[in-house]
């Protein structure tokens, strides 16, 4: 929005105030994330900028908190606890997230395919049910699971006595699947809206079976939607803290859980180095989703916008 040449002084002043205000708000949104990055390279054990850091003294910077993060405790100081918990947490998080993403993507895509068929009865009701995990506050979901999962037999471990979905990786994966499911359903259904069904009909008349048709014709076209849904599900699982606090046992140490206990107990710059890595990861993911969205729109013949 450019200012016209005939604008009065008052309009000019107002316009610059408006731009400055927007600048401040955008700064408010990103400043905390940007402040974390340099601070994670501090050589001190405190969470504030020292004078030396502001003068860019090389002595003030180090990679010790990153070494700490990967379980290298050679230069850990007594005041901070160094352990391989971060490594274990990151590993657990990635495994749980991959499993939950695969499950959520498969189930979500199936649901979206069914929902987008014209003969589907009660579409609105099923859709509402499938996206309800997004609507119900996490604390309520977690409370319900915490009270109910101890009574459900763990299908991957049915013979141990007292086996249940509580305090188990299976339970955690199932819970994360539930939380990721709505994202897949929403993204895939919205890709299917623009899908030209005469393509599958053409394939069927040429003799392709339903499974072959799906993988050869439909899937490549809706793939961007499936992948961005999967990315949402992955990020949701990687970032999930409430449910794991309520249904996870001591073994289910995920990265967010380790950050949580880090924040509550021994707050050290190790958390900042983990945070930095996660910020960079989120930027990479954001770029991927944006590129996928553009590709999907190009494939479906919509103008990029």
């Amino acid at each position: 929005m450019a200012l016209p040449a005939y604008a009065s002084t008052g309009q000019r002043a107002w316009h610059y105030f408006y731009l400055a205000f927007c600048g401040v708000v955008l700064f408010f949104l990103v400043a905390p994330l940007i402040a974390v990055i340099p601070l994670s390279f501090t050589s001190k054990a405190f969470l504030n900028f020292t004078k030396e850091m502001l003068y860019l003294d090389p002595e003030a910077f180090s990679l010790r908190w990153y070494r700490n993060l990967i379980g290298d405790c050679s230069d850990a100081v007594v005041t901070t606890v160094c352990s391989d918990k971060w490594k274990i947490g990151a590993w657990n998080s990635v495994l749980v997230a991959i499993a939950a993403t695969l499950l959520a993507t498969t189930l979500g895509t199936l649901a979206a395919l069914g929902l987008s068929r014209p003969q589907m009865p009660g579409r609105k009701l099923f859709m509402a049910a499938l996206i309800s995990p997004l609507i119900v506050p996490l604390i309520i979901t977690a409370a319900g699971m915490a009270l109910f999962y101890p009574q459900v037999l763990n299908p991957t471990d049915p013979f141990t006595e007292g086996s249940s979905l509580h305090s188990s990786f299976t339970g955690l994966i199932f819970a994360h699947t539930i939380l990721g499911l709505p994202f897949v359903v929403i993204t895939v259904t919205s890709t299917l809206v623009g899908f030209d069904h005469s393509l599958t009909r053409a394939a069927a008349s040429l003799g392709g079976g339903p499974v072959r048709n799906f993988f050869k014709i439909q899937f490549p076209i809706i793939a961007p939607g499936v992948i961005s849904g999967a990315l949402f599900a992955f990020v949701t699982s990687m970032d999930e803290i409430v449910v794991v606090l309520f249904i996870g046992g001591a073994d289910q140490l995920t990265l967010p859980k380790q950050m949580w206990s880090g924040i509550r107990q021994e707050i050290s710059p190790t958390i900042l180095s983990a945070a930095t890595i996660l910020v960079i990861m989120s930027v990479v993911l954001l770029t991927t989703v944006e590129l996928l969205r553009r590709r999907s729109e190009r494939l479906r013949g919509l103008t990029p916008g």
Partner: protein, 432 residues
């Protein structure tokens, strides 16, 4: 291959009743219906696995909260004989020997775990029940080993004079029922009195009303703050040329995509006593070193951090509405003589109302269910109802109360979503 197109079906394609037939000799209507039904089952078959998964692992657990919130069977399983005789007691004078005998037998034969759980429940109805049960459990079991056979009333009152206090006996009445509305009453600071029904808790014991109000207040304040900060930014993003807008959009989306805990840590770095904000203000001479602002671990901290976290939820819906408003309207209004301000208020703003409504309801709904942020940055006076639910679930183990609060919160959220659906439509929910 020669293909002939019949404009009308041949005579032999009709049956006796004059219905159109397919080549297989089945009436066309029937064949169509069959194929429609097959398609419907195929669609249902696709939706069934995810739906059943969701029902078993999400919908049933959430609905089970409703059962927990009214379930009151514990004391009944603990004191079965007592409750079998309880109705014969007039409730005016101390009960007679048989009731004392029944309660002696119940307590002396119950397992320890059940004793612990039910005495906790009994304590919600009347304080000091728990200690009475604990003491009696020990003494009665010792008596049982000596094959004690009465007289029960005299002996029980000798063991603890509370057994001679009629109010303890009377308080059993509200635990007799298998269902209770006591947890719901408790969740809004009421309690059930045997005679007066629902009565408000004494002033000093009212904690949850404060929490509900605070949750409501925080949600309102955060909604207003995000609207105030988000509206101009959405406008800028919607009116700027696409290349600049895309760069600025990253500033909005990056926090949206970053882990919640990372953002909270980042705010700790910014707002703590020796944080970036305080350090900057002190070194700029605006603030004395001794009056550093307390912006973290209190109410202010909760508001600031929640505003930043929820800002994208406000900006994105408003932005997508503004994007669809043609600049021609503003130009036309100004052409007709309106000042830019008047044109903005009279012409532009009304068109953005759907976006404002969507963003505001979304932010409000998300913030009333917040738990993690207040827990980490809220300190004592920044706690919300979500924290109370978590506390009762994990620390005090008062599951009934936690479930009742959860159900109340859930009802509130669902009503708001219904409103949201009426205004925007859930299908129009967008991400990224």
């Amino acid at each position: 291959m020669a293909v002939t197109y019949n404009t009308a079906p041949a005579a032999d394609e009709y049956n006796a009743a004059g219905e159109l037939m397919t080549a297989d000799g089945i009436p066309l209507k029937q064949a169509l219906k069959k194929s429609q039904r097959r398609n419907m089952f195929a669609a249902l078959g696709l939706v069934a696995p995810p739906f059943l998964f969701l029902v078993l692992l999400f919908i049933v657990p959430v609905l089970s909260l409703m059962v927990y919130s009214v379930d009151d069977r514990k004391v009944n399983t603990y004191l079965p004989k007592t409750f079998a005789l309880y109705d014969q007691w007039d409730g005016k004078d101390l009960p007679n020997e048989p009731l004392y005998k029944a309660i002696y037998e119940d307590i002396s034969s119950a397992p320890g775990l059940l004793m612990g759980q039910s005495s906790t429940r009994m304590n919600y109805a009347k304080s000091r029940w728990k200690s009475l049960i604990k003491k009696s459990n020990r003494k009665f079991k010792a008596l049982k080993r000596k094959n004690f056979a009465g007289p029960y009333k005299e002996e029980l009152i000798k063991i603890d004079k509370r057994w001679g206090d009629i109010t303890f006996w009377q308080s059993l009445a509200i635990m007799k029922n298998n269902f209770t509305s006591g947890y719901f009453a408790n969740a809004i600071d009421y309690k059930i009195d045997q005679e007066k029904g629902y009565v408000a808790q004494p002033e000093y014991r009212r904690i949850y009303q404060t929490l509900w109000w605070r949750t409501f207040e925080v949600a309102i304040i955060v909604t207003l703050c995000t609207l105030l900060l988000g509206y101009p930014v959405s406008h800028l993003l919607a009116t700027l040329p696409l290349r600049y807008a895309n760069v600025l959009m990253i500033c909005v989306l990056m926090p949206f995509w970053t882990s919640l805990l990372v953002r909270i840590v980042a705010w700790m770095v910014m707002l703590q006593q020796n944080g970036v904000v305080n350090d900057t203000l002190v070194s700029a001479g605006i603030l004395g070193d001794e009056n550093r602002l307390a912006m973290m671990y209190n109410y202010t901290g909760t508001i600031i951090v929640m505003t930043q976290i929820l800002l994208p939820f406000m900006i994105l819906p408003i932005y997508s509405v503004m994007k669809g408003i043609s600049p021609a309207y503003m130009k036309a209004a100004q052409n007709l003589g309106a000042t830019p301000t008047l044109a903005f208020i009279k012409v532009y703003m009304p068109q953005t109302l759907p976006g404002i409504g969507a963003g505001a309801i979304l932010v409000f709904i998300v913030s009333i269910g917040y738990y993690i942020t207040p827990e980490l940055v809220g300190g004592k006076d920044g706690q919300l109802i979500g924290n109370a639910i978590a506390g009762h679930l994990q620390q005090t183990l008062n599951w009934g109360l936690a479930a009742a609060m959860g159900v109340l919160l859930l009802i509130g959220v669902l009503v708001l979503y219904w409103v949201y659906d009426k205004i925007v439509g859930i299908d129009n929910m967008r991400m990224g």
